[in-house]
């Protein structure tokens, strides 16, 4: 008995000591907590606008509550459903098609043995990430335009006809996804390169002693070793399916393709910021976030089936 209580006292004392010892760490942690409280959680109060007929004059607490009217309008209006559908189509295409590219690029760069070449390629491919969509957008317009675009010049030389790539839904979507690949692949590859760099070289040595070719080493050593990184990225990326980037769409859109290019973020910009309908645009934004949350959980649940889940 006595021993036990003594043990308990010792544990308590140790806890107290631990707490004391970590006070400086906690103090250092404080700004992070504040950051999240002030910039991430406090703005969430604004979400009540989704259930209000929000008026700037009356504010959060004075505006009239309208229940689910805003959501009802969203799901009853064909154009809104079209916008949600566009978001999902573009988001899923972007996700599925762009996802393997950084992995492939990292694997290839990893195979390069000439150091200066490797470094140069790495630097060049991640540069586009730092260009804004305004620049990438006008580059796409220049490349695919009908009167003077490179692609159409070649096409005209061969077939004698030009094709309105920027005006047709299918080709526009291809340009949309392609521009994502061009811009983000190099940058996204960095994390895989880091993972590849961390693989124990003895694994490769063992594999090559067993007679593995370079290709087989890639398949049986590199890929399994970076699989956890791939899964984490997959789950994180799934969250961004429903949030098709505003900048990208806004800078690539042309009038004739708006029926496939109008997504939730551009709609919210138009109705929320330009028309000042904060209630309904918040409702749309909230729905968008819910969608993202569901997608993250779904992908994680699938990953769990293979024992690779994030949580």
């Amino acid at each position: 008995m006595k021993q036990k209580s003594q043990q308990a006292i010792a544990v308590r004392a140790k806890n107290k000591h631990n707490f004391k010892r970590s006070i400086p760490l906690l103090i250092m942690f404080l700004p992070v907590i504040l950051y999240y409280a002030i910039f991430k959680f406090e703005p969430m109060i604004g979400l009540i606008m989704a259930f209000q007929n929000f008026s700037l004059k009356k504010g959060f607490f004075g505006s009239e509550f309208v229940g689910l009217t805003n959501f009802q309008y969203i799901f009853e209006t064909p154009i809104m459903l079209q916008v949600i559908k566009n978001t999902l189509v573009l988001g899923i295409l972007n996700f599925v098609i762009t996802f393997p590219f950084p992995i492939l690029m990292a694997l290839f760069i990893n195979e390069v043995r000439t150091m200066w070449f490797k470094k140069t390629v790495q630097t060049i491919v991640y540069l586009p990430h730092f260009l804004s969509w305004v620049i990438v957008g006008s580059m796409c317009f220049t490349i695919f335009s009908q009167e003077s675009g490179v692609v159409n010049n070649i096409l005209k030389a061969i077939t004698g006809e030009t094709y309105p790539f920027l005006y047709k839904p299918v080709s526009w979507t291809a340009i949309f996804v392609g521009s994502s690949i061009w811009k983000e692949t190099g940058f996204a590859a960095i994390i895989y390169l880091a993972a590849l760099g961390g693989i124990d070289p003895t694994l490769y040595e063992a594999a090559s002693l067993d007679g593995c070719s370079r290709v087989k080493q890639m398949i049986h050593v590199s890929i399994p070793c970076i699989a956890p990184t791939i899964i984490i990225n997959l789950i994180l990326k799934a969250g961004s399916i429903a949030t098709v980037g505003f900048d990208q769409v806004y800078n690539l859109k042309t009038d004739p393709v708006m029926d496939v290019a109008d997504v939730i973020s551009t709609w919210v910009y138009r109705v929320g910021l330009q028309q000042m309908q904060f209630g309904i645009s918040t409702a749309m934004g909230l729905f968008n976030s819910l969608l993202s949350l569901i997608l993250v959980f779904t992908v994680n649940a699938i990953a769990r089936k293979y024992d690779k889940s994030l949580w």
Partner: protein, 553 residues
Amino acid sequence: MRNKKLFSIFAASAIMASTFLAGCGNQNETVSNNGTATENEQGQEEGNESGEKPKITVSIYDRGTLDPSEGTMDDNRWTKWINENAPVEVEFVSIPRWTSVEKFNALFASDSAPDLILNWGIPNNWVTDGLLMPLEDVINQYSTEYKAIMEEYPAMKKAGSVDGELYYFTALSALEPNHTLVIRTDWLEKLGLEVPKTEEEFYDVAVAFATQDPDGNGQDDTFGMSLSFVSGQMIDQMYGIQNDGFVVEDGKLVFGWDRYEACTKMKKALYDAGAVDKDYAADTSGEQSYQDFINGKLGMIGLNNGANVSMRTTYTQFKENNPDGEFEIIALPSTSIGQFGGCLGGGAAVCGAINANCENPEAVMKYIDWMNSTPDVYNTLIYGGEEYATKTEDGVWVPKDEEKSKKEVYGSDYTMPVCTLPIGHTISKYFDKNNELDAICLEYLDQATEAYCNEEYPYEQGYAEPRPALDSQLSVILTNTYSNAADGPIKTNLAKAIVGGSEYSVEQAIADSKKACEDGNGQKLVDFYTDWYEKNKDSLITDEERYAMFVKE
């Protein structure tokens, strides 16, 4: 040793925390410092004789173009000049020009919007939300100058009213040309064509310009017309489409479907015939078409501010590239819908309102009256006054040192509430007829005035027409259906028809658009508009009132 480490961690976090806090604190301090600084200066300059001036806050656009050595838009030589001369003490609040509405929204939400809100165009939502003060009583009680101008030009009151109640200040300026249709007369002559008077002639000229090699270089590298930005809008205007697409027909406010159909057919025909740059949809600012024009590759173009001071640049650049080229400003060709005057600038333009929380509307009114009391205020802020410019006998202010004026004279945004029509300011006052280039610009201004400021052409949609305030539901319906300013279904379908070749006809586009409007509950909006027009048509601006704002010889 360990303690030392601990101490350094402490110190680091303390420093971080204090910088964070100081960051917040400093800002407040600067504000109050500024406040006292202005007060001190006031005290020194005014002495104690005039007593305390009432204090107001006024918004001012920040276009990000001010030379840093001049200070900031809320504190510089002209704000000081205003504070020295105005009967009130003004504290200016900077508003980014191109996101002004968003900024005002944020200020309203945090209860810190200025007393006098100045913006070109005020969203009706601010009225419905109760953020603005009704002006009728304020003007009747406190105003003299502004009230007098408003009584002389009834259009001001009508333009400033929302559903019959006066909320907005309007800046009255002469109704003068804005968009202009420009044509290469040397190309016309070369191909033996006449200035197009009808839509058929317009189409023929545009196609001829594109296909008959008017620049004579043996290459198929010219276009007849453009569809981007103002050029495209001028084709809309040929068919009587302006603003939001709603038009008055047989005394009723209806959506102009037939106009859109005719207009889109013309655009599609031009596109299919190769008379326009096919990449127009990527040229949203019209910059590409402007470059084509000054480089001698484009035969007709719609110019924004097309008879104003920017004509100096346009003409100079054009002549540099095409020494033998000639161009003229022409009237819009007549169409199956009628003959229209195009988009004009000026008139009674909504420019401001008073914050509902303003404590001293009398002082705000005094400030606006002061701005309108004498031409000196305007001339000083626009041209820098006699220190910077000399006035010719025609009343034109010529800068003494152009470079110096460019850098140090930037007061035009402070003059937003000034009514320039009563003080006789017109576009022509920017041009000195003794200057060769200015004399040419004056000629173009005359051409444009004759072509567009003409009482024979209907101006029912000449400039922003008053529209009713919409509640939130109707606003969303408008965005989702009839709104052609945003990327609504109508704009998309019509654009698809223009570029769609034989796959997608204009008739189909109109039918699809009508269906989209129906699905989006658009009928509710149309009914609301129709009803509103029926009730308010007598309080809208009449043609007579509009023509009163033309420049009188």
